[in-house]
């Protein structure tokens, strides 16, 4: 027997052993997985749904022990440090710790804006065309700028946000009516409608939309920017001010003598320290902590969340909620380590009203009636994360109660059974059949596969897959495509010419505490854009559009809330999508932390959080 023959012989014998061995290995892997699965221990209680408060462990958010250094575990990075550009929740969390705006919110009251850099309430003229704010004296920039904030700095901050070098995501939405404001981003120019006299800044408007503009003065765009310092950075294309921010908040991101931000390493970490020029007497924030390090790149938030629950001086996570299994366990075993506020947003499945068969109102009603929306909510965490959405103004936003609160409008029968009503769905589908839609036995009978663009990552993917099952129950056949969430928006669902009939993973969260910011961008026909469109259903109803224009001029208060609630009702009547959850924002903290969540930007408020 040659060596080769010998090996071949052995090989045969070995293959038998290999089979046995592979069974053994499989068993070993399974056993190991079971050990790991058991690492969290057994659930001691089935008592789910225990709600936490905005303050982890409860108590007065304004009280805390000074001092302490903490770490925030995050998966991603902030969008920008530049106050003219930041527009996402995680960016806001850092922004409101290191900067000050004209108005802000105490963490426990996200409905009442209070003066921050402003000395008092905004003065709105009777014709709703002028807003005047007085800027507080005594607020200084962090080094190296070191000088006092002036009203001119706020004027420059808003003007620069209209330039192409400082791409603000909302300047042309909420500040466009300022007299002389550029219609499109271009070179820097002074805006004549922003007038500064001493420490007073006045916004002169072309339309009577002062209430909305006053409400928007809480946004980061009103953070002062010192022109003489920032101008040279803003001349770069794009602006480099993001790397040289002049901070005004109780904290600042570490910088050097030239103002270069050295404490931010994109994708790695952000080091936040005390601002030596901050004067507590001028601020409503207590700023207990000495330093905060944001550790980024924790791609597996399950690990980060577990580390937080088990560790010390840690906060987590930047995703709105910790991973669902961790959240469920924490609700039962560590409720004092959870902080929770209304998310201020709605998630829904967008039905493109310009595409067949969703251009038929009865088809859309049939879908909402037949869908098990509770099953959709379960994919985001179920009852524990929030109520089933019944309309488009979420809890915590003015106009919600006027819209029937969590129960919604009772006159629309297709909204009444969140677990699905097959008989009612069949009734509406038959009605659609009479209008020419292919229907058989109360179900859709069209032959085409309907393009559906879904996200490729959980929990959104699970939502989309559940939606697919629901669509199929009602007779729809889907051409189901999965893409990353950013691609979903920028290449498909937000581009009308792509004509995507179903987008199962859309959602909209508040910009500020006003129902207009929830309904206008998402359901106004005038808001439909060739790219970056967020009216995903492409709803275009002239009566609704006119009602929005009228309601925009109504001053803040009951009348305005009722007007927007009425618009909300008109939108629900159009059944432009299948709303399924108003989810809360939930963060977790280590046992030794008193974490406070701010209801406005729905993330930990680093200026109120403390170490116990």
């Amino acid at each position: 027997m040659t060596n080769t023959q010998h090996d071949a012989h052995l090989q045969k014998g070995r293959s038998m052993r290999k089979i046995k061995l592979s069974w053994l290995m499989t068993a070993l892997l399974v056993a190991l997985a079971m050990v790991v699965a058991g690492c969290g221990g057994d659930d001691k209680s089935e008592n789910s749904g225990k709600k936490a408060s905005p303050v982890a462990g409860g108590g007065d958010p304004g009280e805390g022990k000074p001092g302490g250094n903490i770490t925030f575990l995050a998966a991603g990075d902030v969008d920008y440090l530049d106050p003219g550009q930041t527009y996402y929740t995680f960016g806001y969390m850092v922004h409101y710790a290191v900067n000050r705006t004209l108005y802000g919110f105490k963490p426990e009251d996200a409905e009442t804006a209070i003066p921050d850099l402003a000395e008092g309430e905004p003065e709105i003229s009777e014709d709703n065309k002028t807003v005047t704010v007085t800027v507080k004296p005594g607020v200084k920039y962090a080094p190296p700028v070191d000088r006092e904030v002036t009203a001119d700095d706020i004027k420059y901050a808003i003007e620069r946000a209209f330039t192409a070098n400082v791409p603000s995501g909302y300047a042309t939405s909420y500040f466009a009516e300022i007299e002389g404001a550029p219609e499109k981003p271009g070179k820097y120019q002074e805006i004549p409608g922003i007038v500064v006299e001493g420490n007073k800044i006045t916004f002169k408007l072309t339309k009577a939309v002062a209430p909305r503009l006053a409400a928007a003065l809480v946004m980061p765009i009103t953070t002062p920017v010192p022109k003489e310092y920032a101008e040279k950075f803003d001349k770069k294309s794009p602006s480099e001010y993001d790397q040289y921010v002049a901070f005004t908040g109780p904290y600042m991101v570490k910088n050097d003598a030239e103002g270069k931000v050295t404490g931010r390493q994109p994708g790695k970490k952000i080091e936040i320290i005390r601002n030596p020029n901050w004067d507590k007497a001028t601020d409503f924030r207590p700023a207990f902590l000495d330093s905060i390090t944001i550790e980024e790149g924790n791609d597996d938030l399950t690990v980060a969340a577990r580390r937080t629950l088990a560790g010390q001086t840690l906060l987590c996570c930047d995703s709105g909620q910790p991973p669902i299994p961790i959240l469920r366990r924490a609700l039962q075993r560590n409720p004092d380590q959870l902080g929770r506020v209304a998310g201020g947003g709605t998630r829904w499945i967008a039905l493109n009203t310009t595409q067949k068969p969703f251009d038929n109102l009865n088809v859309r009603k049939a879908l909402i009636a037949g869908f098990d929306r509770n099953a959709l909510r379960l994919t985001r965490g179920g009852e524990e994360v929030g109520s089933i959405a019944q309309h488009w103004i979420p809890p915590g936003i003015p106009g919600h109660e006027e819209s029937g609160g969590d129960a919604g409008f009772t006159e629309f029968d297709w909204m009444q059974n969140p677990e699905g009503d097959p008989a009612l769905a069949a009734k509406y589908m038959e009605a659609a059949g009479e209008e020419g839609v292919p229907v058989e036995n109360g179900k859709y009978a069209g032959k085409d596969n309907i393009l559906t663009i879904a996200t490729n990552a959980d929990p959104g993917l699970k939502t989309a897959q559940t939606a697919q099952t629901e669509f199929e129950k009602l007779g729809f056949k889907l051409n189901f495509r999965k893409v990353p969430q950013d691609t979903l928006y920028t290449k498909f669902c937000s581009v009308p010419k792509k004509e995507v009939p179903i987008c199962p993973n859309v959602g909209w969260f508040k910009d500020f505490q006003d129902p207009e910011s929830m309904l206008q961008p998402t359901f106004s026909g005038a808001a439909i854009k060739p790219a970056g469109n967020v009216n995903w259903s492409q709803l275009k109803v002239p009566e609704i559009d006119q009602a929005m224009l009228d309601a925009a001029t109504i001053p803040l208060g009951d009348e305005r809330n009722k007007a927007w609630a009425e618009i909300n009702k008109q939108i629900v009547a159009q059944a432009p999508g299948i709303p399924y959850v108003w989810d809360d924002s939930i963060s977790i903290a280590s046992k030794d932390m008193k974490m406070v969540i701010n209801g406005y930007y729905t993330s930990p408020d680093l200026s109120f959080t403390s170490v116990k």
């Binding site: 690492c39 791409p167 603000s168 499109k184 794009p238 993001d242 994109p266 994708g267 790149g297």
Partner: protein
């Protein structure tokens, strides 16, 4: 030899050009996120998106963009600026090379030592319980995906949430220049995890190579001449059996120096792999191009080194 090296280096340049062009084309053909819209925020005006496109040069034809990209690399060694956060791509990538190199080189050392030793022992002790146990363990190592193994290791051994708190938790990596002790402690678990699958493959590879070599005539001749078994195995057997392993080692190390995406993600090590992953998901072409070129360069150079090493370990090879 020198002519050969120069020829290979020139071909490397051509290869890098082709690789970078392919990446560029992929981003234009496949639906990826639009960087201008991502920069513009969640409800941008079309004019704003257009302005950002102009700012980033995205409104030019792709071949013009590609030309400028290559020109800047050749003339200034400038990889451009990230679409996402406007940082200098070269600085960003170079700041991450030490983390990736630390992970890859340390893991390579671990898997070479463990893999080769087990392979040699298994071959020498073929058919024994030691051989069976070693090859069984190797099978487990190959079967366990690195992402899963990383998470399991964290849940078992991390000193904050682990059942047996031995190793540093994820996210504790620091540069060797900052704190050498912490650097070592933070990388021990990632090295072991990353090295597991490689060690297993190398052990099986070494074993089968050595078994084949040990059946060759010259081995029998050596034994007949009265050489000690240790000399037969190491001087004549292992030297011949290791040649193909050098080849795959060069490739493996090159790939890892281009970024060990999964291990870097699980253990939150700020290396090139994680940067590339984030950049791909955000359509940040300059960062993707930079990481791909660095990765491809690592693979090409290590292959060249391997080919040169061949000449020393295998007398039959001449250039």
């Amino acid at each position: 030899m020198l002519a050969y090296i120069i020829r290979r280096l020139l071909w490397s340049v051509v290869l890098l050009l082709v690789v970078s062009l392919v990446i560029f084309l992929i981003f234009f053909i496949l639906p990826t996120a639009d960087p201008a819209e991502l920069r513009a925020g969640r409800n941008p005006d079309p004019e704003l998106v257009a302005a950002i496109e102009a700012q980033l040069g995205l409104n030019r034809p792709f071949y013009v963009q590609y030309f400028f990209f290559i020109r800047d690399i050749v003339t200034e060694f400038n990889f451009g600026r990230s679409y996402q956060n406007n940082v200098d791509v070269r600085e960003e990538i170079f700041s991450r090379i030490p983390a990736t190199a630390s992970l890859a080189l340390g893991a390579a050392f671990v898997w070479l030592v463990i893999g080769l030793l087990i392979g040699i022992l298994s071959a020498v002790k073929r058919g024994t319980i030691l051989d069976r146990l070693a090859m069984g363990a190797a099978l487990v190592g190959i079967s366990a995906p690195v992402y899963w193994l990383g998470l399991v290791s964290i849940y078992l051994f991390s000193n904050d949430i682990g059942r047996f708190p031995i190793f540093e938790p994820p996210g504790t990596y620091v540069a060797i220049t900052e704190d050498p002790t912490q650097w070592l402690k933070s990388l021990l678990l990632p090295w072991l995890v990353l090295a597991t699958a490689f060690a297993a493959v190398y052990a099986r590879f070494m074993r089968s190579n050595l078994l084949e070599v040990m059946g060759e005539d010259y081995i029998r001749t050596g034994r007949a001449k009265g050489l000690k078994e240790r000399a037969v195995v190491f001087r004549h057997g292992v030297r011949a059996a290791i040649t193909p392993i050098v080849t795959i080692f060069g490739l493996d190390l090159g790939i890892l120096l281009g970024g060990a995406i999964l291990t870097e993600s699980v253990f939150n090590i700020p290396g090139i792999g994680r940067t590339a992953f984030d950049a791909i998901s955000k359509g940040d072409i300059p960062i993707v191009q930079g990481t791909v070129i660095i990765g491809a360069t690592a693979i090409i150079l290590l292959n060249l080194i391997v080919d040169i090493v061949y000449a020393f370990i295998d007398p039959r090879v001449r250039y």
